[in-house]
Amino acid sequence: MLIALSVFLAYGYYAYSAYKEAFDTENKPYKRIIGYIDQDKALLNTEYKLCDKGFIQRTYNGAGLDAYAINKKEFRDQLNTTFKTTDYNDSGYLNYRFLVNCEGNAGWFEIIEMNLDLEEQKLNPKLVNQLLEFTSNSKHWNILTYTQDNTPYNYYMYVSYRIENGKITEIIP
């Protein structure tokens, strides 16, 4: 009985140590979860506050279609009425990665500017700012809630615009 208990405790200690070791990032290449947004460095990071002690949901792949207020068609239609395609001739992808708090307010933005080969490349700053202004407008984003008690939560979202000769041809996801 004593031997069995000792073996059990030794195994438990080993498993715990291995688990702890797995989360240790010292001298390892990945210091943060993939997709981590550094809130101190992010754009538009002061206007709103995160709820629930800053806990962020939907970090696996973003909130996707659930995030668009009304639905994605509404988002696309709104964009088409505000975005002037004649102002630019850029081509590439413009990705906005951001957080939406439990009140549906968007902030904490990171921007990735790329060419159509998905390589980082600067795009027209006016285009980048115009789409930042549009994307960061909180009216486009839903308040998302836990199904069990309807409590709202903070979530991660990204929007990728595919742009060809100044025209937005695709919005992803």
């Binding site: 797995a22 390892k28 990945y30 993939i34 997709g35 696996y60 990204y158 990728s160 992803i172």
Partner: protein
Amino acid sequence: MLFSCGSETSKSLKEKQDLARVTYKAAIQFRQGSTPFQNGIAEAVSLDSTYQEAVYELSVADLKRGLPHRWLPQYNKAVKLDSAQRIPWRGYLYLWFYRDYKKAITDFDASDILTPYVDYPQGHSVDYWRGVAYLGLKDYKMSNFYLEKDIQREIEASGEDYVESTAFLYNGISYFENEQFDKALINFDKVLKYSNNSSSDAKYYKASISFKQNKIEKARKEIEAAILDFENGYYNQRGYVETLRQLYSQDFNLLKTTIN
């Protein structure tokens, strides 16, 4: 270093490869993209740089979380290790995550040369995916060509009831766009046949055709049925991203208003 023991340099190639697989399996127990997941897999790759599955897996979280500039260079390392598997797969990713239809088709076409058999990245033949990609490009003739090819192959191999219903749907949409309404209707009816008569998409397009053919009363009934299916959740969608030609409530309402 969960399972490592002994000197790294003294291990044989076989021992390193075995240890890489054990390390990888331990790492993927953690959440994809988390630090123990990524670092564990990175360790597996450091033990065996030819471990394609691990090299590929390091790219996936970047893809899903909107970091394409990091995804592609890592993904292409896996392509170098197994181009036959990863090029058609990359076509699938270009298609859905980047809506780059031309690059997707290039990768699907490459699979014709890379392997003597028809590839099935993510569960569907490259012909199915080419049909979808050409629909995205608005090249409806080519879309129909590849979807017909896919449908025929599946019928011959397993029977019509084994054909993916979205193959009929997209095939119907491409025929619809080319105003080949008879062929479009055949495909939309197949969608309904194999989905217990529940598909708001198929019914939406049937209503559109009826309207274009001036069969107004028929169109009215079809759009009402389409709306009911939509409200009950029977509409074409997919995980992670919007699907091609995804329909929304506004689309149904607009068609209903137009018909009436």
